[in-house]
Amino acid sequence: MTRPFVLIAALLALIGWTSAATAQEPLRVDVTQGNLDPMPIAVPDFVGVSDEAMRRGADITRVVANDLASSGLFAPVDQDAFIEDIANIDLRPRFSDWRVINADALLVGSVTIQEDGRLVVGFRLWDTRLEEQLLGLQYRTAPENWRRVAHRLADAVYERLTGETGYFNTRIVYVSEGRGIEGEPIRQLALMDQDGANPSFLTDRSYMALLPNYSPSAQEITYVSFLDGQATTYLYNLETGRQEALFASGGAGAASQVDPDGQSLSARFSPDGSELAVSIETRSGHDIHLFDLRTRSLQRLTQHPADDVEPSFSPDGERIVFSSARGGGSQLYVMNRDGTEVQRVTFGSGRYTTPVWSPRGDLIAFTKQVGGQFMLGVVRADGSGIERILYEGYFVDTPAWSPNGRVLLFTRGEQRTNGTRYEIWSVDLAGFNLRRLATGGMASDPAWSPLIE
């Protein structure tokens, strides 16, 4: 796979402008706190010399501004309030014009269409109070990749202003839900950009597809397919569209170790992508297994009469969290990757399920069901049992972390007279910025890709 675009250089000449040496702090957005006061940022339409370049510039501006706003950390300033008309991004802006409309940051950019049709997109990010350039970058890309460039640009701005890696140049695989003409359930895998653009289906309506998870390379997913009549773990290559049942009954190799009637559930990749942790049913219940994707060997990690399901690796690959009813009700447990040293990590009342280890390693996201209510929460992975609830409502399922560990997607259900309505929502780690993901119809089971190269 060729890289879709080239970062030409971080050298939109650092021209060495310095500020009037006010004693202000540099611009910084704190992502760790609930952000009720997002940073105002002005994003004028990117300039271009041709009509086509101007149109594309406006498109890119819209995508970038939407990305930044969706984080809840930035508030794009209304373009109608702008005083200065940016015509050339290599000229120093009139900072007072931007300060007076309360824009702390100013993002200006340009789009050039080369003779070969490729786009060159450059931008400069300014601190309007210190009158300093914070970042200047230029990308060159094939014209069809303009959205990718816009997301990368937004990631660069996010990273410069927060100190955190961005998450806008990512995709989401999810389950599109519905009912067929005879009332039969429809569960199709769908793929879209993080902002809802470029939606497509990965599977058809003839069988149910559930619980997708991304590989660290973003080129494969696992999911649970009913193609064979019962829940079976599948590996799906997003580049080729090829898929295979990993633990199909009666199969060779690893499959022969599995009870022919047993189901296999959602599989999560190890951080290096070489292994899967997956719950497989035997006659004595469901147990966590480790599957080596190269040698095709299957190792059983738990052997408890209670069901052990929903395994998820720690980011260092050394530990696995899973849910189990071994203590009575369903709670979360952590063990070493070889199955030793099982330690309980949740202790509250209610039923804890769907543990997913944060990319940062310190937290585990979960769903908790208490009485008739569902909660999305995070608990420390260290066994202290300290937890925080981020959302509470009628129904919650399948949390998925952003690659930088600052945002969670989750399935949210709302009670309706004709049944529960499922949608995918996002919320940040502080429990703020609750937003619905731009899926078409009913949707569930989000899987968030890593940053796309």
């Binding site: 019962q230 189901q263 559930l265 049913e281 219940g285 849910s323 039923r351 399920t353 769903t367």
Partner: protein, 174 residues
């Protein structure tokens, strides 16, 4: 004559089978039998008829599903009674094979329910085997909460959806 006798006997069987079974909305379509010879032992209130050994026969004579408590996978006395009737029916039709599917209400997370549904299917399977059904005749699956027979978000619906449903998948009269 055989047909007539069957129709009378079966009608008696369902009257008791149905009394204790929650209503379901996906009863398989009933196939009209060949014309039944006029009964000569008195009038019979004929409901829809069905063929011996058919799915409709199985559903009416034995009951095709057993119900579970909230978050439970243990069998109630009533569930055991239904499964005993299923086992008896299967003894009469030794060629028939069945699929037992575990189902759950929607008030749980997806993978949790897939596991719970498998527990319910296996509980039914184990009991059927204890009642003499050969294990090779039984396959199981779990649909979790994905194939509810009742789709409203109400307690009544959820109770109906917590079940293990038995369907004939081979060796029966179509």
């Amino acid at each position: 004559m055989k047909m007539k006798l069957f129709a009378i006997a079966a009608l008696g069987a369902f009257a008791t089978a149905c009394a204790s079974t929650p209503p379901v909305d996906d009863t398989p379509p009933v196939r009209n039998p060949d014309p039944i010879v006029e009964p000569d032992t008195g009038p019979v209130d004929t409901g829809p008829g069905y063929e011996l050994g058919s799915t409709a026969h199985f559903v009416e004579a034995a009951g095709d599903r057993v119900f579970f408590g909230l978050d439970r996978h243990d069998l109630s006395d009533e569930a055991r009674a239904t499964l005993r009737r299923q086992a008896a029916w299967l003894a009469s039709y030794p060629g028939a094979r069945i699929l037992v599917a575990g189902n759950c209400d929607e008030r749980g997370t997806r993978e949790y329910n897939l596991a719970l549904g498998a527990r319910r299917a296996n509980a039914a399977r184990t009991y059927l085997i204890s009642q003499g059904v050969d294990p090779s005749r039984i396959s199981t699956t779990s649909y979790g909460k994905e194939r509810p027979s009742c789709t409203q978000s109400t307690e009544a619906c959820w109770a109906i959806n917590r079940n293990a449903a038995t369907t004939l998948v081979g060796g029966y009269t179509n």
